[in-house]
Amino acid sequence: MDKELVQVALNTAKLKGATYVDVRLIRKQDESIQMKNGRVEAMKRDDDSGIGIRVIANGCWGFAATAKLNKEDVAKTAALAVRVAKASSTLKAKDVLLDSKSKVVGAYQTKVEIDPFTVSLDQKLALLLEADKIMRKVKGVALVESELSFSKKFQIFAASDDSYIEQWIYQSGGVIAATAVKGNVTGERSYPGMRGHYKTAGYEFIESQKFLDHAERVGEEAVALTTARDCPDITTAIITDGSMTAIQIHETIGHPTELDRVLGTEVSLAGKSHLTIDKMKKFQMGAPHVNITHDATIQGGLGSFGYDDEGIPAQKTYLIKDGMFNDYLTSRETAPVINQQSNGAMRADSWAAIPIIRMTNINLLPGTWKLEDLIADTQDGIYLESAGSPSIDDMRLNYHISSEIGWLIKNGKKTEMVRRPSYSGISYEIWRNCDAICNEDYWEVWGVPNCGKGDPMQTMTVGHGAAPARFRNIKLGK
């Protein structure tokens, strides 16, 4: 049935005058459980299915989508996509030109040991209840929260060049968090990562996170934060844990290397980028040992897949090579502008959304340090854990990133705990000031489940391979 609907969409759009058509039919299930202080605040499932049809007609793009998966409505929607493209063509400079991709036929499935939808709700609730109980036992903890979420997506991609791809993508993730309140001060602590950790994986990923082993510490640190002093306003060295390094990559490398931003097509919301085309292979973005890849081929990242939403096979390229700005994330339409073929970064957050250039897994390659040696090597500095909220200007230059917790480093030792550290600066300066990266033993692909871009906003899941790293001369606080 699904294959027939895809064919109806392709045929109708071509009959109506489309010179190119691609179709994504998606059937997706989500499940989430959110618990607070032993009470299930929300336990729900979502069944989401529909078809998105993208066409070129009269040399311009059109897109239409519907949740009504029957032949009549799919045909109507395909015809509508062509009508929309013809409306676009009343204001065009030139015909859309795509790279020379050839037909792709294939299939991909996330490697899953335990399908999370085969694990009972009882088992999931029992895990959250136990973590909840352990955190609440800690004296001073006022609120505890925990969450598990899972998704399973089946997608057909088919195009008028006879490409046909089927993909099954699974995602699993969760978080536990504790809040202590003392007077007007709250202490908030979570595990793992940046208030949660997510992967393309099955329930085995949840088991690997060992939430129960960390629950007591999370509660204790939340309480300790209520009496910790605010992080001082100083300029010093910072050592970021892997999740914070990941957010630094996300905001200051991932977004500015999206070629659609550079070409101005995201101005209406997300903005542009300081990494203009004239800087490619000429601009020193980081220290010489900083190497950052776009790599959808690795296993387990939230940006791992077999094919992007234009049917391009997953790829690996260097965005930053030996510190030099080397390449962009591209699409079939933008890559020819820099005389390239697409490197497979077009993604849509649902059948109802048009694919745009998104991060896949943007990874800082590991260095050589052990974390304990890095701390021992730091005379004055601060160690930061668990990324909070970031903020950055619309050219991706001036960033501000906060974290849940920090420890001052004095003479090579972690000392006093400090509350709500945040740091800011200029994006290329921090990477030029990166003087140490921990080795592959500390390297992890962190998941960002809520990357926003597009207008209307699309929420994408992206990954960042990262290890703890040290950055010198960083301004903390105001």
Partner: protein, 448 residues
């Protein structure tokens, strides 16, 4: 679009006398035309219906609750959603705090529905025509332009088996325009119930004039300045009070400053903020996602903390009246104020500008995020039209700055409020005036 009769038929067919069942049905037809480099580069029409259900089963140790949503609005689709929600509820941990879904006696409606008219349907050709108007204005000024026109028509039906049965429909158009010169940009936006009410050429001219006026921007060092914030900038930071402070969940958990301040002065006496879905500029459903009519709620009245919004769960928990501010259930977010009205003043923006001896005029903020919720400390950046003002006149454009402020403390420093107000935002609709504020803190600078 799904009309009232079909929505009600679906809702009524699915309800069963046993257990508590709530069903919501939303239909939405959305068109988006994005333009950049003065051409249309994304153009789409999407039909995205949504049905959700919450089933509450009685149990000896408390209620058991499950939720399911889907895109299948057939009679069988809705019944399947209820069956699946019942399955989930059977696994749920008993909830001792949940009392009941709302009942009709609790929800006597006041005021007229603003979303019951038949929504207008805007075509891709109409959007393309509007974009041509915008680009022709920018072309005249030799400026590049980017932006978007969103048009939506939608309906919402909510029912439960206690007799709640609500339906409303509506439409709106939202546009943003960014005009760009070599080293400057200018922004204008509008949101309205009617596409034809929006003067696209006038908006484009505003964006162009800002871009022209801010050419070759100069650098201003971070520090504390007097600022004149245009309504879009005011709306951005006030919206954070909605998220952090004005809901009953943060209040019940004593996380918010409001939870410790009712009856106390928390801002200057010239600040009054309410939630009022009957305000003529806003375009919100007259009832919430549990079908309860939205009531007018005062958050801050003449500087004094007054109250927060409730849904049925938190109204029962805190034994307060339900104000009709539920999100789709089940939800962990708690009640949310989706309309924020800042009371206007009695002076014009022009006259406010004349009073500025030295200061900064800000068109809008960007990427504002919370640094410390305990202090309502937020940070973000200026964007698309930031100007140095001296002796009551705009002198030149300046490079963008990072601001970091405590919201309540900032609202103690408001020197003047404009009589003009503007509606901003889609999900959270904020009607904001311009504010003249002293000692507004900038903590960083950008390079453009």
């Amino acid at each position: 679009m799904i009309d009232k009769k079909k929505t009600k038929d679906l809702l009524n067919n699915a309800l069963k006398p046993t257990d508590m069942i709530e069903i919501g049905i939303m239909s939405n037809q959305r068109g988006t035309t994005r333009f950049a480099n003065s051409v249309i580069h994304q153009n789409l029409t999407v039909e995205n219906p949504y049905v959700w259900t919450r089933v509450i089963m009685d149990g000896p140790e408390g209620k058991k609750i499950g939720g399911v949503s889907s895109r299948d609005l057939s009679v069988n689709g809705v019944k399947t959603a209820i069956r699946k929600a019942t399955d989930i509820a059977s696994f749920a941990t008993p909830d001792k705090e949940f009392v009941s879904l709302p009942k009709p006696a609790m929800v006597k409606s006041k005021g007229k529905s603003q979303k019951s008219k038949v929504p207008e349907s805007i075509t891709p050709e109409q959007r393309a025509s509007a974009v041509r108007k915008i680009t022709s204005v920018c072309k005249k000024h030799k400026l590049d332009v980017a932006g978007v026109i969103h048009t939506s028509s939608y309906s919402l039906g909510i029912a439960n088996n206690f007799g709640i049965n609500q339906y409303a429909s509506g439409a709106d158009t939202y546009t943003t325009i960014t005009a760009m010169a070599e080293n400057s940009s200018g922004f204008a936006s509008a949101i309205d119930k009617k596409f034809t009410n929006i003067d696209f050429e006038k908006l484009a001219e505003i964006a162009c004039q800002k871009a022209i006026l801010s050419k070759n921007p100069k650098q201003v060092e971070p520090g504390a300045y007097t600022v004149l914030l245009e309504p879009d900038a005011v709306a951005e930071f006030i919206t954070f009070l909605g998220w952090l402070e004005f809901g009953a969940k943060a209040f019940a958990e004593k996380r918010s400053i409001m939870s410790k301040s009712i009856g106390k002065k928390i801002t200057g006496a010239n600040i009054t903020i309410t939630d009022d879905c009957t305000h003529p500029k806003v375009n919100q459903f007259p009832f919430d996602f549990e079908g309860v009519p939205r009531k007018k709620v005062a958050f801050i009245d003449k500087g004094v903390a007054k109250g927060v919004v409730f849904d049925s769960f938190y109204a029962n928990k805190l034994k307060k009246p339900n104000t009709g501010h539920a999100l789709p259930q089940p939800s962990a977010y708690g009640p949310y104020p989706s309309t924020l009205i800042i009371k206007p003043g009695n002076t014009s923006m022009k006259d406010m500008l004349k009073t500025v001896d030295k200061g900064i005029l800000i068109t809008r903020f960007w990427y504002t995020r919370v640094v410390d919720p305990d202090k309502t400390l937020i940070t973000g950046l200026t964007r698309d039209g930031t100007f140095w003002v001296e002796k009551g006149e705009i002198k030149y454009g300046i490079k963008n700055l990072r601001y970091t402020i405590n919201i309540y403390e900032t609202l103690k420093n408001v020197l003047a409020i404009s009589k003009e107000t503007v509606l901003s935002g889609e999900f959270t609709q904020t009607v904001a005036p311009a504010l003249l504020i002293k000692d507004f803190t900038f903590t960083g600078k950008t390079q453009y």
